[in-house]
């Protein structure tokens, strides 16, 4: 115990010595600047109500669960789909859509429907004439229900087989967004 006391005293002594000699600055808060908190997929039909699918996760990766809102679409209808991405953790909210438009060559969205009878086609392209996917056409078939998955790949290989027609299999790159919405066609 004598040993313990001695060490304790020495430790405090050194601590005081060092505390005086070097400044211990408080850390600076670093927000995740590149976080995408909000994704909305706005579907405008040729006639009828606009449908908005959304994914909201304001506190980033950890913490509270994200809020995911699916939608009900009309069967046998054509929609124009517009994606919007934001980082709402910053004030004012930062538009990620603009960043992706600027770097269109290095990004591509992929849409995969499961169960729901619908197809998605690209309605925009990058400078090389390859698809991007911020603007799409969505065509629904007969009444059904299922899901639609939206994936954003960073640095995919756009020249790999099937990638230009929206097949993700050979795309590679890194996933920046991967969200799934429940969809009902009626």
């Amino acid at each position: 115990m004598k040993n313990l006391k001695f060490i304790f005293i020495v430790n405090i002594l050194f601590t005081v010595l060092f505390l005086n000699s070097c400044k211990d600055d408080d850390p600076i808060d670093m927000n995740d600047e590149e976080v995408i908190t909000t994704l909305t997929y706005t579907l405008t039909p040729t006639s009828g109500d606009v449908v908005t699918l959304s994914f909201l996760d304001l506190d980033g990766d950890g913490g509270d669960d994200p809020i995911i809102t699916g939608g009900i679409l009309q069967s046998n209808m054509s929609y124009i789909g517009v994606l919007d991405l934001k980082n709402e953790a910053e004030t004012p909210a930062e538009s990620i859509t603009e960043e992706i438009e600027e770097e269109a060559l290095e990004h591509q969205f992929f849409f995969t429907a499961t169960g729901a009878n619908l197809t998605v086609g690209y309605a925009d392209e990058d400078d090389n004439g390859n698809p991007l996917g911020l603007v799409t056409t969505l065509t629904t078939g007969d009444a059904s229900s299922g899901t639609i998955q939206v994936v954003l790949r960073h640095e995919p290989d756009k020249s790999a087989t099937g990638v230009q027609s929206g097949d993700i299999t050979n795309a590679g790159g890194e996933t920046d967004i991967e969200v799934t919405f429940d969809i009902t066609l009626q």
């Binding site: 060490i7 211990d24 590149e34 950890g62």
Partner: protein, 770 residues
Amino acid sequence: MMKIKFFFLSVLFFPQFLLAQSCNLTLTGIVLDKGTNIPLEYSTIFLKNLGQGTVSDKHGFFEIKNICAGEYHIQASHVGCHSEEYFIKLEQDTLFKIYLSHHSELLDEVVIHGSHEDNSTESSQTISRGAITEEGNKNLSDILGNISGVSVLRNGSGISKPVVHGLFGNRVAILNNGIAQSGQQWGSDHAPEIDPFVADHLSVVKGASALAYGGNSLGSVVLVETDNIQEDPHLHGEVNYTLQSNGWGHTLNSTIEKNGSWAAWRITGTLKRQGDNRTSNYFLTNTGKKENNLALQIEKQFHPKWKTDFYYSLFNTKIGILRGSHIGNLTDLETAIGRSEPFAIEDNFSYSIAAPKQQVTHHLVKMETKYLMDDEKIIKFKYGGQLNNREEFDIRRGEARTRPSLSLSLFSHHAEAAYNGLVGEKIFLKAGIQFDMVDNGNNPGTGVSPLIPNYRSYQTSTYWIVQNDQADKWLFEFGGRFSLKQLTVKRFTQSPPRELEIIGHLFQNYALSTGLRWEKNDFFKTNFNIGYLLRAPEVNELYSFGLHQGVSGIEEGNRNMDVEKSLKALLSVDFRIQNKFFVQALGYFQNVQDYIFLEPQKEFRLTIRGAFPVFLYKQTNANITGLDLLLKYEPKQNLNFILKYALVRGNDLTNDIGLINIPSDNILSSMTYTFKDGGKWKNNFLTINGRYVFQQTRIEESQDFLSPPDDYFLIGLQVGTNFEWQESSLKVSLRAENLMNTTYRDYLNRLRYFADENGINVSLNLNYRF
């Protein structure tokens, strides 16, 4: 007057007159093997400035007669040894003991130093300078992997760390010149920042408890050590160059040293450039590497009893990480695992390094002053300061592209006072007090919330070890260590509103250890060690929070983590039969209560980028048992066979499953044949080696994303020769690794999910000494 004139004349015309008296000196000596004390017959002892030499007899004995007083460079060489050079001032008949490492794989730390203060009951194994320079193009950890019981944990071929007795990272302390390496030890993607060329030898102490060493070891310690600068007043040095075919890597190193009139100094510089590695089938795009290292060593003897040395080293590296191994989420990982070759592989070789990459700079300053009192009593003061800057770059969007995602600066200070000496007649005491301070800061501007918070810690430790030596046969050792660690963490709360949070911890750690060494004779030696020690959890284990980009998982620490309590026992036996058959066997058992590990969770964390695997730091009770075996058979002095076998078993006792990242069994064998010397070409040798690594079968499917890869067998070949001139020598060797260009993956490489290991690599190594 006449007499004086005559004297001057005679000196002028017959200078030998003055020296005649001292030109009948005799230099006698004995040449012994360093590791085993076996006399080395047919060793060549050569006085370089005279061009005169002799050969030792079967007792290792030699004699050179009728030489004048003066300064000599003596070169000693023997079949299968790296030749050694000595400098002596001959003033009278002299008896000279020469140690060569004929059995270099049998060397240990105690033998190397040979002094009382380094005596120990702990087992250790050593790699000497010659072997380091031969493989200097590799990382420190890869060179250490030649020691039985040491495996290498990798993240691609550029990043590796040693695994000793199944433990790595925070649990294996690495001492660079006596100072515990203080880098970001927590990630499996962080390698120790040390240039192997700075070392004269590398040792692994396979201990039960590291009492005298700083650092946070759970038993084993890696020592990177430089020897004292030779007493030679002339400039000497060496130049090493290696060209390797895989990655077209160039390694250039130069070391020069001199015992100058003011002080002795040595400078070491190393440059490495390497491009994309290649597996047997494709290039591993973006796996290049750049390294620039520098070290300066100064030794000053103020007084015969007072010696001071100064050491500075700079390590600077830039390492590319395989593009295809950088993944976004779980889906990406699953897609990557299913592929025959990784994404983003290019057909062309390149030296360029793009993101993902790491840039690390490490500075070390060390000062040590030693005062020798009477009767081998020594007082030492040591200071070591380190600065580690680490930047990791990911693939990012927009202007963030050029900014690092992780940028850490770690300052550390270590101060120590130690005393070694006899107490009374029989007891040798080693005692010391150490103070450590560590300050880790996240540099602002990354735009990524940090995985590891800012922290500062102060630690004060004392240790004492008593040793009792009985008739040079028994050595008994008992010791203890106590430390007090104070840790302050500053971080922002995770959920909004984000507020600064300051948390303090206080850890009391102690260690107790006892050991016994019995040397029956030169033919039989045994060591037994048992130790109990506590290890305080590190900051990553307590406070990690977020995405660990390098390994694509969300990692979360637990601030209520308890200290790890380890009990380890080791028994080693060294013996030899007729100087032909050598055995080193070491068995160990370690029980760790509250063993900290990263547990993969069943649920995934859903984010906008998809699902991520979650790893939580948890505690369990674990047992680690193992065996290291080294067998050497030398039927003739110029032919030997070596077999190394290592076995480790790790069990999580609470969950009744195997521990992850435990090396599988492996066998390393080699045969070396030394041909007859041909003129100036000496020590012409040929080595064939094979490495067989078993599949790791003690892991359940649920413990990993992918079951461990298959077993593999690799063949290597090396040929070499020495060309010797009067003042210098050149060693040339050619080495082929993975000669059959085998396609394989290794369980301890994180890249096993994505890509194969390197294919064939042929390297040419030149070592010029002057």
